[in-house]
Amino acid sequence: MAECHPVGFQWVSEAKARGAKIIHVDPRFTRTSAIADLHVPLRMGTDIAFLGGLIRYVLENDLYFKEYVVAYTNAAALVSEEFADAEDLGGLFSGFDPENNTYDESTWQYEPEEPPHSGSDDPAGAAEQDELEDHPEIRKTDKAQAAGSGGPPIAAKPKRDETLQHPRTVFQVLKRHFARYTPEMVAEVCGVEPEAFLQVARWVTENSGRDRTTAWVYSVGWTQHSVGAQYIRTCSILQTLLGNIGRPGGGILALRGHASIQGSTDVPTLYNLLPGYLPMPHAKQHESLDDYCADAAGKAGFWGNKRAYMVSLLKAWWGDAATAENDYAFDHMPRIDGDHSSYQQIKDMIEGKISGYFLVGENPTVGHPNGRMNRFGLANLDWLVVRDLQLIESATFWNESPEIETGELAPETIATEVFFMPAASHAEKEGTFTQTQRLLQWRHKAVDPPGDAKSDLWFFFHLGRILRERLAGSTDPRDRPLLDLTWDYPVHGPDQEPSAEDVLREINGVGPDGRAVSGYLELKDDGSTSCGCWIYSGVYADEVNQSARRRPGREQGQVASEWGWAWPYNRRVLYNRASADPDGKPWSERKKYVWWDEEAGRWTGVDTPDFEATKRPDYVPPEGARAQDAIGGSDPFIMQGDGKAWLYAPAGVVDGPLPTHYEPAESVVENALYKQQANPTIEHINGPWNRENPSLSPVFPFQVTTYRLTEHHTAGGMSRTLPYLSELQPEFFVEVSPELAALRGLVNGEFATLVSTRTAIEAKVLVTERMRPIRLRSGQVVHQIGMPYHWSYSGISTGDSANDLLGIVLDPNTHIQEDKVSTADIRPGRRPRGPELLEFVEGYRRRAGVESGRVGVNGREPVAAEAGEGSQQ
């Protein structure tokens, strides 16, 4: 955190000054470790074993927050008799389909209170829904996300045992699942000595409970794994058991990487989501608006209003053309029916299936793993539009990339037409970023952008305008969605810049009276309201741009609610109803945050209560209640269908209802816990340009991780081009331990070559004790290598690209790549140049028993190349 979110880290330092204990769990020693009270270096890729060890410690020693766990979680729910745990099946859960490498989740369900589906408003519909969801293809299409952040529907209310003693309660299932994650096993798997582990366990549990809370902070070090979603699940289970969610000083803080990466998820340019985590309609599952909303029909919680959110979105997009008769133009929405995510697209580009590509402030040939594969993708397009501040590598791949040097690419063979469109910087346009705490902050414009540089708002508005002009008068039904689109944003200035405030107001939503709505509770499913992103509804309440509020922090209390605006409803801590006990009283004076004021008959506190203001803590939903009215007064997790935090996920997480330790896809260690080595549901993308290093291969004997430096920014387009930052961190280096340096003859300050089945790269060697070899109980020594990934061939400071070394394997829940852990070889000296580099890497592939990585023209399959398209070989 001190490295990558440096100014945010001031609050950790403040906490330390006030007596908080800071623990840093990381394979590397960083600037965070330097400030921490305890640094725990663990073997990369083993966090589930470590966190699982903590869960076991909490359960075995009865250190969980009992009242919280019983009242606010699904600990008391009974799991179906058909469920079999990974403990009993060698690392697989019941329902595994080895043909598709997917799970059928039906055996993971709860044991219903009554016969199945009787709790649902629409038993037939729910059954049909279940059947559809069992289709393996739909499972692959992000069922977890497709259900929205409320999680998937659960078929029926579970049987409960409030004593938590029944062997099939979630609580007991959890206890058995983690029983073998002992301190000794943690030592065996993670290489963390039991003393260090127990120190962490003591500090975490001593600082949790009524009077104290513990916070966990993570970043892409957890998400970029083949079990990334499960890493976070493990921490959620731990934090929920300790009663650390929804309370001040608690929580799990996901530190997002970049200025508005949170915003890019909320108002997503992601294939499987619409704004506000509404799923993108699926061809098989969502043939009509009714299908689309079916899973919300009988659902409790705020997702029960899905229809109002969706109809309001359709009204925002298609205005008067969206009517009750035409399902509010639901069929104007295109449908997805598989994994259409970024890496699949690159594969499709290489195979010639995609003609055109827009890169809008993104530099994939450096920032994505496997740069070579990315460049081959770009080389097989008809056209590419790059919008950026500088001529980044993704714009110059056709004449400057490493593959030009190896002869795999040449300008003369690349048909891709490239448009470089200069972009306006953050200071030259207005609009909002959403930072990592869901806080929207408005930026005022300082000056006009220079020359042809324009905002992306300008570019897409005018592109849309031109497209609509071209198609005007068309009678082709496929053009209707474009022609019916509401696209009349007022423009201003000589550049005809559209008004960002107007767009923000559309995102906020407008009521039947034509005024900005004050929040999503006002949204209706009858077409009388419009709203571009329901969770952002309220950002323009009272016709005021709330994100532009800037009351100085020193004039406000600790929550500083009048600086910017956080979704939803300007709440700064989510699920803060959990900061009070079931009766609505603060758990303790010290941790008071939001509570029930009996006299006033409403919730109050220092933050906006994450609950309807007047819903009493003893409210019991009447029979037939729906949406938020079906959530009881003591159920704080209002976005979940049952108002409870899920220690066990009966559906929706595609690789298992409980987190389980698997080794990374590329590991030098055998899984000590299960026969199953790696996550059985990993997504692979195969081709000569994306070979995988076999696990346990002596050819690739070392583990590698990648990371960022304080002084640079992701793929470097905004930092390697600047003199100060380039001076601060002038060249690409790899960090290795003195032991590894001795083993491989690496010399500090000289070059080393790293090799994988993808390619070989060179970097300056930094020999440092900050990297430590991990000694496992078995006697095996695991050497770990660290590489910052900012560099490439352009800019002021240049070097090989760390990401070129990495391959692409994906977490099946999120389609995020595992690039925080992989394997490689390292040897002293510089890498071979030109075609010799290809020979060199091919030799490694051969020795490791991996298929050839040779490609034909522009990276296409050699076979296709021989069949008449000319070959480079």
């Binding site: 970049h258 697209q345 714009a395 300008p411 003369e412 448009f419 930072q435 922090g553």
Partner: protein
């Protein structure tokens, strides 16, 4: 004599109220004459750092319609006026001499960049979007209506404003383009 001695910092330090020589004693005429760029700016605009997700407040100082300085905003309860090396370098980001401010065009099989007029480029891109959309169009897939095009794709960065992401998703969806992604996946 007095004036001459007064000009000597050590004399001022020894005789004046600043024995440590860290304040008035160390000030010279030249120092007095120096005025910070922040003091002479025509206006100050409140903004947000474009690098990481902490979201530090920035104050952008503008003189003669040029950005002359970017500093941390002490009003921000998040950052309290601080910026890290990246945030502190943001003036050099926006005023970088290597920033490309003219449209660049590389034709198929071309070996050089060429100039292109912005308006022409916009219309050429629109042509290509329509063509790619047509080429990759699917009314149905696997017997189900999909109404989409697989002919084009998009990848956004994480410095896009919410308003920009919103217009992108809206326009792409209306075109039928579904292969829309963002750094947020990465």
């Amino acid at each position: 004599m007095k004036t001459w001695l007064d000009a000597w910092p050590v004399f001022r330090q020894l005789t004046g109220p600043d024995p440590l020589g860290r304040g008035a004693a160390a000030r010279s005429k030249a120092t007095e004459g120096v005025v910070s760029r922040t003091a002479t700016a025509d206006r100050v605009v409140q903004s947000v750092c474009p690098y990481c997700a902490v979201g530090c407040g920035q104050r952008i100082y503008v003189k003669d319609e040029q950005i002359v300085q970017i500093e941390g905003d002490p009003d921000s309860p998040i950052s309290r006026g601080r910026l890290c090396p990246k945030g502190s370098a943001s003036k050099s980001l926006v005023t970088s001499p290597t920033r490309v401010t003219k449209v660049r065009y590389r034709r198929p099989y071309g070996t050089e960049w060429e100039d292109l007029d912005l308006d022409t480029a916009m219309h050429m891109i629109a042509d290509r979007v329509l063509e790619a959309r047509r080429k990759g169009w699917q009314d149905e897939n696997d017997g189900k209506r999909v109404n989409r095009t697989m002919g084009l794709a998009s990848l956004g960065g994480a410095t896009l404003d919410n308003e920009e992401n919103y217009l992108m998703k809206k326009l792409y969806s209306a075109m039928g383009a579904i292969q829309i992604e963002n750094q947020a996946r990465i």
